[in-house]
């Protein structure tokens, strides 16, 4: 393992410190908890607050999506581990503006338990109403939709929730729109090389030089199968076949495409992948309304990527068109 870090035990605190130094106009640390960060830019019409969170190691997620038009605050966990309820409660207290707080997180056992505990604690101790949307876009992780894990598609859910909040909607409406965004979103990933946990120095999975893992999760969870590596075109065909098989995307639909790199796959490759995605969409008479191509939700230095589609209706289109201003995600 080659990593430019100091003491592995201090990775989280140090990355947070560096981020806070880089973007003081966007974010500050809460006085209530070391791992609770609060946004400084908030749309004047926004009533409902949006809280995101998850494990570290996915930078720029989740910290990078606190900003105008996106989340109001973030609770930070250890590497690939959910934050505890205590920072989640701290963020909730700081960001709520008497119209409730929407929690958005991925469908993992740890996140479910910690966010549930946080929401029980805040409702009793702080009398703050919370609602929840749980990201579960990864088609490769389970057959049953409610058992699927959340991967890159969460970014689009944040965007929908943030826009809905900026439109001044109430908690139930913001939740409904964020849930709609989640329900219209499907993703699938490919792993090419592992990441290394700072505290063990061990690779997150084993893969031969000529192999790839189809359906890989965002923490190196094994996917559907290991195969020999193929071209971008062939690989994207496998991914798109699995996503389109869901039956959610029909001819004449408009979709948002998100090609997300896991950290070590170059922007060059991601553009090639985006071209292949668009080709398959065209063949199926599905229109790309917009594509996002980049390293949005990574797994440290993992090689690989995921493809996400979100089907648009008028509501979601207005959310996608709404401007955002985050350090690593700006659209004017």
């Amino acid at each position: 393992m080659k990593k430019m870090i100091n003491n592995p035990d201090n990775v989280i605190d140090e990355l947070m410190a560096g981020y806070l130094i880089a973007y003081p106009e966007y974010i500050k640390r809460s006085n209530l908890h070391q791992r609770a960060l609060i946004g400084k830019k908030r749309h004047p019409n926004r009533k409902v607050s949006v809280l995101i969170g998850g494990g570290s190691g996915h930078e720029p997620a989740f910290i990078g999506y606190v900003g105008q038009g996106m989340a109001d605050g973030v609770a930070i966990g250890n590497i690939f581990a959910s934050p505890s309820p205590i920072p989640i409660q701290a963020v909730t207290r700081e960001i709520h503006d008497s119209h409730g707080v929407l929690y958005i997180y991925g469908n993992y056992a740890g996140d479910l338990m910690n966010f549930e505990m946080a929401s029980e604690m805040t409702e009793v101790e702080d009398d703050i109403e919370t609602a929840v949307v749980i990201g579960n876009d990864d088609v490769a992780s389970a057959k049953e939709i409610e058992e699927r894990r959340g991967i890159a598609g969460e970014l689009l859910v944040y965007k929908a929730a943030g826009a809905a909040a900026d439109f001044g909607y109430d908690l139930e409406e913001v939740r409904r729109i964020a849930q709609l965004a989640n329900d219209h979103t499907r993703s699938m990933g490919i792993g090419l090389s592992p990441c290394y946990l700072p505290q063990t120095g061990k690779p997150s999975f084993d893969l031969e030089d000529n192999e790839m893992e189809i359906g890989l999760g965002h923490h190196g969870e094994p996917g559907i199968e290991k195969t020999t590596i193929r071209t971008a075109q062939e690989t994207v065909q496998v991914i798109m076949k699995n996503i389109l098989k869901e039956g959610l995307y029909q001819p004449d639909d408009e979709v948002v495409v998100l090609v997300n790199g896991l950290g070590a796959t170059s922007q060059m490759e991601l553009y090639i992948i985006n071209k292949e995605v668009d080709a398959i969409l065209s063949e199926n008479n599905i229109k790309t309304y917009k594509s996002y191509v980049g390293n949005f939700i990574t797994s440290m230095e993992m090689g690989g990527f995921s493809v996400t589609l979100m089907k648009l209706d008028e509501t979601l289109k207005s959310c996608i068109d709404h401007p955002v201003d985050c350090p690593n995600f700006k659209e004017v």
Binding site: D9, I79, F80, A81, P87, G110, T200, K202, G220
Partner: protein
């Protein structure tokens, strides 16, 4: 037998030592079926607990209050899935031994049964899901059965520990049905669940204190 608050604190500190020592072994087990961080997580949690014992609990001799503080500091340090699970164990155990500065046989039974059931209630796992419940449920069922037969706690604990071990070992043949490793399906077979292993190691550590 009687467990004093000082002995209880020494047990918790022994867990901090245990998980520091077992960090790499548990990570290696987890790498086979998960994301490879279970040992790191347990170690982060118990190192925080160790600090709490040394800094905040020096003068505390109420075992329930010690237990609450241990659970909370573990939870805050780790989050993850083991955070809420073990925190729920310590909190429920605390409720079962409220205001006690030492635990006799009756309260030792109550402590460990409540601890294990607290974890089960939070995680909602069943025997056979390939989780720490495969260790903890046979353990508390055995304690409950011994309790109903008025067996002394020392003997009962030894019996329950055997059941916990069998349960832990049984996870090797199970296809995972909970948590992140669930996604692995049959590929999880052939490996002991790291959560079941760490739960067993914790119970096994208590053996020297009964």
């Amino acid at each position: 037998m009687t467990l004093t608050s000082e002995t209880y604190k020494s047990f918790i500190l022994a867990l901090a030592e245990l998980f520091e020592e077992q960090k790499d072994n548990l990570c290696e087990l987890d790498r086979k079926i998960g994301d490879g961080d279970h040992g790191v997580t347990m170690n982060i949690g118990y190192q925080a607990v160790k600090d709490t014992i040394h800094n905040e609990l020096q003068a505390q001799n109420d075992i329930a209050k010690i237990s609450v503080a241990v659970g909370k500091s573990f939870l805050d340090a780790v989050g993850s899935s083991v955070g809420p699970l073990y925190a729920s164990g310590y909190l429920k155990a605390a409720v079962a031994v409220k205001n006690k500065t030492e635990l006799n046989d009756t309260y030792l039974y109550q402590f460990w049964i409540a601890f294990s059931k607290g974890i089960k209630a939070r995680g909602k796992a069943e025997i056979g899901d390939k989780t720490m419940i495969d260790t903890l449920e046979p353990f508390y069922l055995s304690l409950e059965s011994s309790k109903s037969q008025n067996i002394n706690f020392k003997e009962a604990f030894a019996l329950a520990l055997l059941e916990a071990k069998k349960g832990m070992e049984s996870t090797k043949d199970i296809v995972s049905n909970k948590g992140r490793s669930k996604r692995l399906g049959y590929r999880s077979q052939g490996h002991v669940d790291p959560g079941a292993m760490s739960a067993y190691l914790m119970l096994n550590t208590f053996k020297s204190y009964v």
